[in-house]
């Protein structure tokens, strides 16, 4: 039996390293396009201030990028170090997008970033712009392949289990690539990155404007960021709705938890704006509900029902009971590949194999599973409701706050001097700086915590996916990662604040406040 402590620590380590990584990634994804925009204006108009903007925001981009790379290395290898059984079980499908990400995207991004920083004097203007553009394309393609891999964990299409190799094998690559879950996630996630980049530039520019420093530089940056941010935040919200549209079982379960929908309601279901979910009673203590809205968002129809938590659990109980036969047949087949009876039984129940494997958490031989164990397995198939419910609402709330901010900021830039006349807007922009990061982290939390108890939804339970390591090793490595990352994060924040405060004077061009002299 795999120790629960090992599973919990492995999950904690993955969550910690992934969430650290995603502090840096969205800023990279978004800022790289702002650099493309600024440099394009420079190439078209020849005005030096636009080159300085590209270089200064590029400098902050670089400080952030360094930690994005540092924390990203871990993620490419952690599947092997800590999730060995997962890697074996689904590597045939999951490994391919990761490798293609390296070949198609990360090489491009990383090679071009060197030329972006060091090629200013060695490349003609247009070629340098091309370098910046290729860097942006590389960065975004990178996100595409990672989200194809992640989308497959949520909605495992285009693959089939083979008892001979004891793993999932790919049957249709294009189904994996065009997985609707992956595509919706990709657009939603990169748009969230664009919002993060825009908010970063908007907030720091607002601060310069409040201080009356580098005004021409800051006004232009503010204008670009507000327009880009408005378009992006609209895209996040619209495409967030798209990823809410249910395409698979995983989404159904998540949606029920996010909405604290315990019972299946007659269509179209109402939307709980606020509620107090009570896990023990399997009901909400109170709720403020808008009729119809949930049914419309979730099914795009007036007559389709959205299953509630209790209905989902009842379905899963049947699948677990059927899955027991699949596990028993599989174990017979592993002892004797020619066992025709076992093969027949296995083919009948194959689709529920993952559900049968859920019982391995409680008992080695699933035939010995007691009704109490089955009940625990059934209950585990829906994540805890309160964290999902609140995580989602805070994310969406921040999204709408940012929409209001970007809309007002953009409107203020339409009239000359519009932004400098409204210090309240600039202060608001400054204080909203952390908002996109909080929203991004919560978004990942809802997506990944909401997928539990699975690593691959319906296929492979999380507790079977870990490497057979000692609990002591996990304590050691977790402490190492958290310690290392925290020190690096402090160093990064220190540099970021230092250079943001100093502003474009740090370029040493002699054109700005706070010049440095070598």
């Amino acid at each position: 039996m795999i120790s629960e402590q090992l599973v919990d620590l492995s999950r904690l380590q993955f969550a910690a390293t992934a969430m650290y990584h995603f502090l840096f990634v969205p800023l990279t994804i978004g800022m790289v396009w702002l650099l493309v925009i600024m440099e394009s204006v420079y190439v078209m108009t020849g005005k030096t201030v636009w080159k300085d903007m590209t270089r200064f925001w590029g400098k902050l981009f670089g400080i952030n990028f360094a930690l994005g790379v540092t924390t990203g290395i871990t993620l490419e290898f952690q599947f092997g170090t800590n999730w060995a059984y997962y890697s074996h079980y689904v590597g045939d499908i999951f490994g391919a997008p990761l490798a293609i990400e390296g070949l198609m995207a990360f090489f491009l991004e990383s090679t071009m970033i060197g030329l972006f920083f060091f090629g200013w004097d060695r490349l003609p203007k247009t070629q340098h712009l091309l370098v910046t553009l290729l860097m942006a394309i590389g960065t975004n393609l990178s996100a595409l392949w990672i989200l194809i891999a992640n989308g497959w964990m949520q909605n495992p299409v285009g693959a089939e289990f083979s008892f001979q190799t004891m793993r999932m094998e790919m049957t249709d690559f294009w189904a994996v690539v065009f997985n609707p879950d992956a595509q919706a996630k990709f657009v939603h996630t990169v748009s969230a990155g664009y919002v993060t980049g825009a908010m970063f530039v908007l907030s720091i520019s607002a601060w310069y404007l409040l201080k009356g420093r580098n005004v021409e530089f800051a006004k232009r940056s503010f204008r670009v960021a507000s327009a880009f941010g408005l378009a992006s935040v609209l895209s996040v919200i619209v495409l967030g709705d798209e990823s809410g549209y249910m395409v698979g079982e995983a989404q159904k379960t998540k949606m029920a938890a996010i909405e604290a929908m315990w019972e299946t309601e007659p269509a179209p279901a109402g939307f709980n704006v606020l509620a107090w979910p009570n896990e023990t009673r399997q009901a909400n203590d109170w709720a403020i509900e808008i009729p119809w809205v949930m049914g419309l968002i979730g099914t795009r129809s007036l007559d389709k029902e959205i299953p509630g938590i209790k209905e989902i659990k009842a379905e899963n109980r049947l699948r677990i009971e059927s899955g027991i036969h699949a596990v028993v047949a599989l174990e017979a087949l592993r002892k004797n590949r020619q066992d025709a009876d076992a093969l027949k039984l296995f083919e009948q129940h194959k689709a529920d194999l993952g559900f049968g494997l859920l019982l391995k958490k409680y008992v080695v031989d699933v035939r010995q599973a007691t009704p109490e164990m089955i009940q625990r397995a059934v209950d585990s198939t829906v994540p805890r409701v309160a964290p999902m419910f609140w995580g989602f609402r805070v994310m969406v709330g921040l999204g709408f706050l940012m929409l209001a901010l970007f809309a007002l900021s953009f409107w203020s830039t339409l009239k000359p001097g519009g932004m400098t006349k409204r210090p309240w807007l600039l202060k608001w922009a400054l204080w909203m700086l952390p908002a996109p990061w909080i929203a991004c982290e919560l978004g990942w939390f809802v997506a990944e915590y909401g997928r539990q108890p699975w690593t691959i939804y319906g296929v492979l339970p999380t507790h079977l996916s870990v490497s057979t390591l000692s609990v002591e090793s996990l304590y050691g490595s977790l402490a190492g990662f958290v310690g290392f990352y925290t020190v690096l994060l402090i160093v990064e924040m220190y540099l970021m604040v230092k250079f943001a405060r100093q502003g474009p004077g740090s370029l040493g061009t002699g054109r700005y406040d706070n010049e440095v002299h070598a």
């Binding site: 400080i63 990028f65 360094a66 540092t70 290395i73 871990t74 490419e76 599947f79 092997g80 170090t81 060995a84 059984y85 890697s87 074996h88 590597g91 045939d92 490994g95 391919a96 990761l98 490798a99 293609i100 990400e101 390296g102 070949l103 198609m104 990360f106 090489f107 990383s110 090679t111 060197g114 030329l115 920083f117 060091f118 090629g119 060695r122 490349l123 001979q164 190799t165 004891m166 793993r167 094998e169 790919m170 049957t171 690559f173 174990e331 592993r334 002892k335 490497s467 057979t468 390591l469 090793s473 490595s477 190492g480 160093v491 990064e492 540099l495 250079f499 040493g508 440095v516 070598a518």
Partner: protein, 380 residues
């Protein structure tokens, strides 16, 4: 396209190519990192050294990332078994690599001697530790690794971290470190001048000598020192569905020599390794640094090729459950995935080579102290 057996063979070669690519590309900037504290004595000298690889280290590091991804996609059982078995060794590599992106980017952003020298040692660790550990890992693969599979193909590593640090594996680590240091020194000699170039050449010459001696010593040890190889005794069906428990394997004293006896042409690999390293030394003394870089790349290819050819078809033999050893036949992905990944590699690898070459071309020429002074705020 290709039948399954051929694809399995092609992927053995491709992983080899990626490994050699990683050693040549990321290897030269790791070698530069290893030499950094010794070749650069003052701040400005160290900045010269760092800026020879400044625009390129990030792209080079992707060879490592992509290598990891390719092994995940093509040899998922190897990815799972090796990285979880070598847990602490792998973490040491990752943690050492953490110093590189931040070391390069943050070091010169603050004018403070302690700050800068801290990052210099960070870059040294990031350059020196990974090649050492990869060498040690290879040394252990040659001896077999204690791991087992159950019926579900869950792998369990039954050894300890410390037993990885046995004498033969440490010798392999020294060869790997020396080879990468040589390569970095040659690159540095090509991109610098004056005192720095002089010190880089001295470092590379010593490292090349250690590489040659260590490589030959390791070969003798394998032949005479009682390190057994592994041999498959059951009939191999290369086109079968991969099942690492379906074969039988035994240890044999000449296990790692049989390929060389059957294919004498393979001897060209160790000969290439030795001669290229010696020629690298001669070319360095003659100050033909560009040609020396090509020769040191060939030396690396020869060393890695020698070990790979000896072990074929084994990738990771198991010392405690030899039948569970991972080979090119039974630890691979499905036919579809191997074919698909081959297509992806054939499309993108040439593009990568083209734009990487372009990047080096744009940044070509010697990095000098006056260049650093002129770009005080933008150079690393």
């Amino acid at each position: 396209m290709f039948d399954y057996e051929t694809l399995k063979l092609i992927w053995w070669l491709l992983v080899g190519v990626l490994l050699v690519g990683f050693a040549i590309m990321d290897g030269h900037d790791m070698g530069v990192g290893t030499l950094l504290p010794f070749v650069g004595r003052s701040d400005i000298e160290r900045r010269v050294v760092i800026n020879t690889v400044g625009p390129h280290w990030d792209g080079n590091q992707v060879w490592f990332i992509t290598g990891g991804g390719a092994i995940f996609a093509a040899w998922p059982l190897v990815y799972a078994t090796a990285f979880s078995g070598f847990y602490w060794a792998m973490l040491a590599v990752l943690w050492a690599l953490f110093f590189r992106p931040v070391g390069f980017d943050y070091r010169s952003k603050i004018h403070n001697a302690t700050w800068r020298s801290t990052w210099d040692w960070g870059l040294f660790i990031g350059g020196a530790v990974p090649p050492l550990i990869f060498g040690v890992a290879f040394g252990n693969l040659l001896q077999g690794v204690p791991f087992e599979f159950n019926d579900y193909l869950v792998s369990t590593y039954t050894g300890s971290f410390w037993q990885l640090l046995n004498p033969f594996a440490l010798l392999a680590g020294v060869v790997s470190s020396a080879m990468i240091t040589m390569h970095g020194g040659v690159y540095l000699a090509h991109r610098t001048e004056g005192r720095i170039q002089h010190r880089a050449i001295s470092g590379a010459l010593v490292a090349a000598m250690v590489t040659v001696v260590g490589f030959l010593l390791a070969g003798l040890w394998l032949r005479l020192g009682g390190i057994e190889g592994y041999v498959i005794t059951s009939v191999v069906d290369g086109g079968a569905m991969p099942d690492p428990l379906a074969k039988t394997v035994v240890r044999a004293a000449d296990g790692w020599w049989r390929n060389y006896q059957q294919q004498p042409l393979l001897w060209l690999l160790p000969v290439m390794a030795t001669c290229s390293a010696l020629l690298t030394m001669a070319l360095l003394i003659a100050r033909r640094t560009g040609l020396a870089f090509i020769l040191s790349s060939l030396a690396i290819t020869g060393v890695i090729g020698t070990a790979g050819a000896a072990m074929f078809p084994f990738i990771m033999p198991s010392s405690t459950m030899p039948n569970a050893s991972l080979t090119v036949w039974d630890s691979v992905s499905s036919h579809l995935t191997l074919g698909l990944m081959l297509v992806a590699t054939l499309i993108f690898m040439p593009l990568i080579v083209i734009y990487t070459s372009w990047a080096y071309r744009v940044m070509r020429g010697k990095v000098t102290e006056s260049h650093i002074r002129a770009n005080e705020h933008s150079a690393y």
